[in-house]
Symmetry: C2
Subunit: 409 residues, 2 copies
């Protein structure tokens, strides 16, 4: 027997989200998303799609024509890139420096790639020479690498690696979900062939849309595998020479036909998410992508200064830390989850726990997107310090917030 | 050289969307989506996830515990169901009565199924006996069938087919994207093993979230293929016995672990879309699913009465038409696209064109979701009649609207 449930309207508690993401959306993004819908072939809609492409070229710092959205979370963008390029048996090299490197491997394996990996301990990044050596030994078709892995807070330098891939004629894909707009990323200058992202980190929107960009070389190889759906094909349509990729939803050849001038019907574009994604990029374009990155660096550093002033030890190689996430060792004798609960329930502030080998050892504190601001940094430091003092980890109350405030001066 | 673009804020033109979908979202859904975000493991968030499951059980008329959202458009839900159940070489039978039957075939082929099809001409549906015969001859593991195919406006009766599948021990999956909440659908009573949907039709929301429900039998077979991601696995985690499915994003075994009590991290839930999907179902639960279907039937029939009073011929087997979409033959001597342009530009009303064999022959007029109302039907009929008269297809001006108005009396 079916039970009838009725629930109240959505009314989420007020939260300041200072974890590794998602973070609070910029209110302008939520307002854009509350706009009424239009048809998917309405000229106003296709204009918005074209504008979204232009705006994300600024975010990715690229001239790539194929810069568009995949309708799903950031993981959807990763899978769309990998499944569209990988042919069964292709060699893929993945440098793993955290959880999301493992994810790239797993998705590539599901595409039936032959996956080769190199690893560094969590908290470190790769020396470019090591990647060069691995490329020469493995001779992969594709190098797939995370830029900023929130699981470790590390930021892999990519500029030299792009140069290495270019020299060895290896395609280079980067998952920039957690790093983009908070750390420098130069798609064209760094020879990145494909980059994917998500809205819920430094872009300041909700999860659910994944901006991607593809180089000319990459998109040409994807197009060679293109197939037009039987229900909409006509005599003019020509398929690529290769076997269909494992996914229809993530077939970038089809998604290009939908975003391109032919406007071939594929999925029904997620209009509200597109409105949100466009607004995220529009806000960044207004600020300037370089200014946006600089803002993350300033507020991220203020958070670091405050945490250090509290006497907390920070995790990992600080010379290669993402600006927008900081790993903090949970002090001895302190219950990390109790701290998170007190922060959430009494201060309305969320900070992050951690995965895998770091579980129970560090908190992850994010300063990103709409929340990369002076007030959020000061408020979070004050609350964390109060909670730690309350639990017996004694600091000079107020010193952390003061150190950050001094840094801003 | 990167060109700098700046664009205005989102400000879509006012449109009354009376095509085959997407249609205007219920304003309550857009308001729910404009709520600020919360963390994905915030108790408030996991409560909203559980409530969303309960609410969609009412929409699908099922007791299935595994009733949840796939983060993507309706096509994402289709692919998640198919890729999670199909093993390479499995026999899948697809009865095709329009474009979306072809889509099910294509996705199943990409999952490396052995796909068998039966077809009827566009505008007809299948006699259950024919499906029974095909099942006995093909002996498939899965029958995959669309309920309402907007490309032809036809609604395939499913109750008897469910009984047939049950008798032959064949899994039965139904794509109810375009039909659900506008036409009867009884997941449990009809022995449906998996059903997928989308928000942008009768559910009254934007595209971008796909509610699905899985029977006990179906979910058990999916679980047998489960794998836990390496980056988050621990010694307690056990993988299924079978090879990993082709997709990580659409691996329903993983998505069940995320929505279930274990709350294993997978994608970052698309919070705004979840808020919207929950509100769509909440509104329907308030109205009652049967009342919602009845409302679609009343307003759909009013539209039919009006179109017929205008002297227009309707497409297909009217005894098996979806309540929420009507195919209308474009009268001889009338340019169908010119009519659509005048309706859009001068009246702000969008009606649909059509695909494949029906392209240029019929319009498709939708009455669904938030737009299944008396005022939208009357306004659309009046505008269409005015445009047709203007272009020389002479009717008694006002007769169509009057016929619908009379019907409502």
């Amino acid at each position: 027997m079916l039970k009838q449930h009725s629930f109240d309207q959505i009314n989420p508690p007020a939260r300041l989200l200072m974890g590794p993401g998602p973070i609070n959306a910029d209110p302008r993004v939520l307002r854009a998303m509350s706009s009424q819908l239009i048809g998917q072939y309405d000229p106003a809609m296709t204009d918005y799609m074209n504008q979204t492409m232009a705006l994300y070229r600024q975010v990715f710092v690229t001239d790539n024509p194929w810069t568009m959205l995949v309708d799903g979370t950031s993981r959807a963008g990763i899978e769309a890139v990998l499944v569209s390029i990988i042919r069964p048996g292709d060699k893929v090299l993945v440098p793993i420096f955290g959880r999301f490197g493992h994810l790239l491997c797993e998705i590539a394996r599901r595409c039936r790639a032959q996956v080769h990996t190199i690893e560094v301990p969590w908290g470190e990044v790769f020396d470019p020479q090591r990647i060069d050596d691995a490329i020469q030994s493995v001779q992969p078709r594709l190098l797939a690498c995370v830029q900023g892995d929130t699981s470790t807070t590390m930021l892999q330098p990519l500029a030299e690696i792009g140069e290495i891939c270019h020299r060895h004629d290896v395609l280079f894909y980067c998952d920039a979900t957690a790093s983009i707009a908070g750390n420098p990323l130069h798609t064209d200058a760094w020879h990145l062939d494909a980059v994917s992202a998500g809205l819920q980190k430094c872009l300041g929107g909700p999860s659910g849309s994944s901006p991607i960009t593809l180089s000319e070389q990459f998109s040409a190889q994807v197009r060679a595998r293109k197939h037009v759906e039987q229900g909409i094909r006509n005599a003019q349509h020509q398929d690529g020479d290769e076997e269909m990729v494992y996914s229809n939803y993530f077939d970038l050849g089809m998604i290009m036909d939908y975003w391109g001038p032919e406007r071939l019907n594929h999925h029904t574009e997620a209009t509200s998410m597109l409105f949100g994604a466009r607004e995220c990029a529009r806000i960044i374009a207004q600020e300037g992508i370089d200014q946006c990155v600089a803002r993350h660096q300033i507020h991220g550093e203020a958070m670091v200064k405050g945490l250090q002033a509290m006497g907390l030890a920070l995790f990992g190689d600080l010379a290669h830390k993402m600006s927008n996430v900081t790993g903090v060792f949970i002090p001895q004798g302190i219950d990390g989850e109790q701290v998170r609960q007190l922060l959430l329930n009494d201060f309305g502030i969320e900070i992050g726990t951690s995965f895998g080998p770091l579980h129970g050892k560090i908190w992850r504190i994010g300063v990103m997107g709409y929340n990369a601001r002076k007030d959020t940094v000061l408020t979070t430091l004050a609350a964390l310090e109060a909670v730690l003092n309350h639990l017996g980890f004694v600091t000079t109350q107020g010193s952390a917030m003061q150190a950050a405030w001094d840094f801003y001066e």
